[in-house]
């Protein structure tokens, strides 16, 4: 029967291995002739107790299985000769002779014989034999139809397929194919014979026919487990190698001061990287805010100094597209700035109440502001009020955030309570702490909230549904001021925070372990921000009027240079 796909190499492979086996049988001490006894057709049994052959130091890998999956991998890589040699040299055939015969018969289109061989391969499961027979006979049926042998196809259907008594809806479909009712291309398209073998492989147990790409799958499993177990994982997947177990050391965490930015005349209270990691904004007691640009080699330079506020600037907020910036004066006004020109586009104020906090809506069309009278207001960009929520929704000193779906507003509504307010359903959930809350930070996926407490602890809450406490971080110092913390690193695996002892603290998020306490500043560190586009860059703002940019340890110079290139890729906002 013609119509075999271009599987010449496969045919040769199969024949070669069979030949190899014949040679083996003749040469080996085994007295069993090829193709005679049923034991040749059985799936190779596992070695009996006294005959255990294992490889590897832990004694869990069976040698026979190991060799077989290696042989299979060699074949799928295209190294047929090597595969055949391995089978011969090890004396461990990839497939039992029965299975080899079976596959050969399928490739040859020798349907009836292949079904007979299938029955001889002893499979415990009757239904599996039936399903496999069904697949084979279906192939026969379609190939007959394709060859315009309609009556023979009908005969196959009636006398061979239907009596199997399985899958009657499929039988129905096959009947309509005979009458060629409508161009049912999805049914009539005849798959290739090698595809059929693949389908049979999936159906039959792995001991009989080893699944495709088994070795590759095992190795990938190991790599992924290594990556997951890596505590300080802060590097890219392609850096993983098979030669040694992957683990990121602390050297993947920014711990060295790369740059000190001195441009403010007074305490720096707030820093934040833009979403694309190309800019950094800082807010200071000196009543200005500065937009810094992250250069190609990772160095920051002043892009614009934003003057205009009459009061110290307490916070900044980047628009979702990073083209605009909001700055908030302490109990004063909010200003909206254009990042490229540095000009102030709009000033927001309200009679009777001064503004204390602000944030952008995820759609970029509205802003949300907190007032000294504890209310929150939603404005269109041109200053038109859309909605306002009164009552104790926020405090004079409070952060303000919105979840990324624009649904929930987060703010501190009482000294020790964070309010999660659903704008649409008006549903209110609360995070109640035993201590006063000083600041909070929302994770990138809006599922977690990091809350800084008066008692020098940072708590991590899961805010999906009912809030649940999931982590605690300690070690830093906080007694008088507002200290801020943030999420950071690849996949936000780390928590960083400022501290009144002038150090930057970094913890491992899931274990809560303190990884680093970085000295350098000479004043309380008020705020930290981890570059969302570069897991190796961290910025800290301090009372000593400077901002420090932290990166990977300079000792690894070569590494540094390689990573500078890496950094520049990130800076340009590439994926």
């Amino acid at each position: 029967m013609g119509g075999v796909e271009d599987e010449e190499p496969a045919l040769k492979r199969m024949k070669l291995s069979s030949k190899g086996l014949v040679g083996l049988s003749n040469g080996s001490s085994s007295k069993e002739p090829v193709g005679g006894l049923s034991s040749d057709f059985m799936a190779r049994p596992l070695p009996s107790k006294g005959d255990e052959q294992v490889v590897g130091s832990k004694g869990v890998i069976k040698k026979e299985e190991f060799v077989r999956i290696i042989a299979k991998a060699l074949y799928s890589l295209g190294y047929g000769k090597s595969g055949a040699h391995l089978e011969e040299e090890s004396g461990i055939p990839l497939h039992s002779p029965g299975v080899n015969l079976f596959m050969q018969q399928i490739l040859d289109g020798n349907w009836d014989d292949s079904v007979a061989t299938l029955h001889k391969i002893s499979l415990a499961d009757e239904s599996m034999v039936k399903s496999a027979s069904f697949l084979i006979l279906e192939q026969k049926f379609f190939e007959l139809l394709n060859g315009e042998k309609v009556m023979e196809a009908l005969k196959t259907l009636r006398t061979e397929i239907a009596p199997l008594c399985i899958n009657s809806s499929r039988i129905r479909e096959l009947s309509s194919c005979i009458v060629s009712l409508s161009p049912r291309l999805d049914i009539v398209r005849v798959r290739s014979r090698s595809k059929l073998i693949e389908e049979l492989q999936k159906l039959l147990p792995p001991t009989v026919m080893i699944p495709e790409k088994r070795l590759e799958h095992l190795v990938e499993q190991a790599l992924i487990l290594q990556r997951e177990a890596c505590p300080f994982h802060n590097s890219l997947d392609k850096e993983m190698s098979l030669y040694s177990d992957h683990h990121c050391g602390k050297d993947q965490i920014p711990s060295s001061t790369l740059q000190i930015l001195e441009a403010h005349d007074d305490e720096v209270w707030f820093v934040q990287f833009s979403h694309n990691g190309k800019y950094l904004a800082s807010a200071s007691n000196d009543r200005t805010a500065i937009i810094w640009e992250v250069g190609i080699n990772g160095g920051l330079t002043v892009k614009h100094r934003l003057t205009g506020h009459q009061k110290p600037v307490s916070s900044v907020s980047w628009s979702p597209n990073d083209k605009e910036l909001l700055t908030c004066g302490v109990e004063e006004t909010i200003r909206r700035w254009d990042v490229s020109t540095g000009k102030c586009i709009q000033i927001y104020e309200k009679a009777g109440a001064s503004l204390v906090s602000s944030t952008w809506f995820p759609c970029g069309k509205y802003i949300l502001c907190g007032f000294s009278d504890k209310s929150i207001c939603m404005w269109e960009l041109d200053g038109k009020e859309v909605e306002s929520w009164k009552g104790q929704k926020t405090l004079k000193i409070s952060d303000l955030e919105i979840t990324e779906n624009g649904e929930k507003i987060v703010s501190i509504c009482k000294a020790n309570v964070v309010l999660l307010f659903n704008r649409e359903t008006k549903d209110e959930r609360f995070i109640e702490e035993h201590q006063t809350i000083t600041s909070f930070s929302l994770s990138k996926d809006s599922k977690f909230l990091l809350v800084n407490l008066l008692n020098q602890e940072i708590h991590l809450w899961n805010i999906e549904g009912d809030p649940k406490l999931v982590g605690k971080y300690k070690g830093h110092k906080r007694s008088r001021y507002i200290i801020r913390s943030c999420f950071g690193g690849l996949k936000q695996t780390f928590i960083a925070s400022g501290s009144e002892d002038s150090q930057v603290y970094i913890w491992h998020r899931s274990s809560g372990e303190l990884i680093e306490a970085l000295p350098g500043h000479s004043g309380s560190v008020n705020c930290v921000s981890w570059n969302p586009a570069n897991p190796h860059m961290l910025a800290s703002a301090s009372d000593d009027r400077t901002i420090r940019i932290w990166g990977l340890n300079c000792l690894h110079n070569e590494y540094q240079n390689v990573h500078s290139n890496g950094v520049h890729r990130y800076c340009n906002g590439g994926t």
Binding site: V150, M151, L154, L157, R158, T159, I161, A162, P163, S168, I171, R172, E173, L174, S175, S176, I178, V179, S180, L181, S182
Partner: protein
């Protein structure tokens, strides 16, 4: 709360009406001899022009009931060309009867050819597609009686088709498609349903012919 039988006394029924009802039933089902003796016995009026057509109708009905669809089709077309042309559903059902005959007599090649030439064209319309697939599936089984589609081989199915054919012919002859008796029972059932829906549990119970006949 059932209806009080005494209420029935208030309704007068004309004998002629009763005769009409019985006659309509007998004519519908082509009981020619019964019709003649009934008319003789009761002196009821003989409806015009019915005898000749009744004979033809009877033959057609019986051929269909036996499964001899081709003969039924032939005679129907003799009677009136456009009955089947205007009623594709019926035409399909009759052709499928023939197909079933071929399958039951194990004439697979013929059945396949017949299906491809006569039934296949119907498959262009989606509403026939599923029915067609049902019939085609019969080809897959050496013993169609044991297949999932065995109901297509049953007497009930042939009865259904024969009935439809009968009604179509009656309609063509400008005679009522349904007997007065059928309609009366259907009416009583539907009216009762409406009443019990509206009145809730206070209304009369649904109409049950069996119970009615017993009472």
């Amino acid at each position: 709360m059932d209806l009080d039988p005494r209420q029935y006394e208030n309704v007068a029924i004309n004998d002629n009406d009763i005769h009409s009802i019985v006659l309509s039933y007998l004519i519908h089902n082509c009981y020619k001899e019964s019709v003649e003796s009934f008319i003789t016995s009761t002196g009821a009026k003989q409806p015009a022009d019915y005898l000749e057509d009744m004979d033809k109708r009877k033959r057609i009905f019986h051929f269909a009931l036996e499964g001899n669809a081709l003969k039924a089709i032939e005679l129907t077309e003799q009677l009136a060309k456009d009955i089947l042309e205007n009623n594709k559903d019926l035409q399909f059902d009759l052709l499928s009867l023939h197909f079933v005959e071929l399958v039951c007599s194990r004439k697979c090649t013929e059945a396949l050819e017949f299906a491809q030439t006569k039934l296949g064209p119907f498959g262009k319309e989606p509403k026939y597609m599923e029915k067609l697939e049902d019939f085609m599936a019969l080809l897959a089984y050496k013993e169609p009686e044991k297949s999932p589609m065995f109901h297509l081989l049953s007497l009930e199915y042939r009865q259904q088709v024969a009935d439809s054919l009968n009604r179509a012919i009656l309609a063509h002859l400008n005679l009522p498609r349904y007997t007065a008796m059928e309609r009366l029972i259907q009416q009583a059932t539907v009216v009762r349903q409406c009443l019990s829906q509206e009145a809730g549990k206070d209304g009369p119970p649904p109409f049950s012919l069996k119970d009615f006949l017993k009472s």
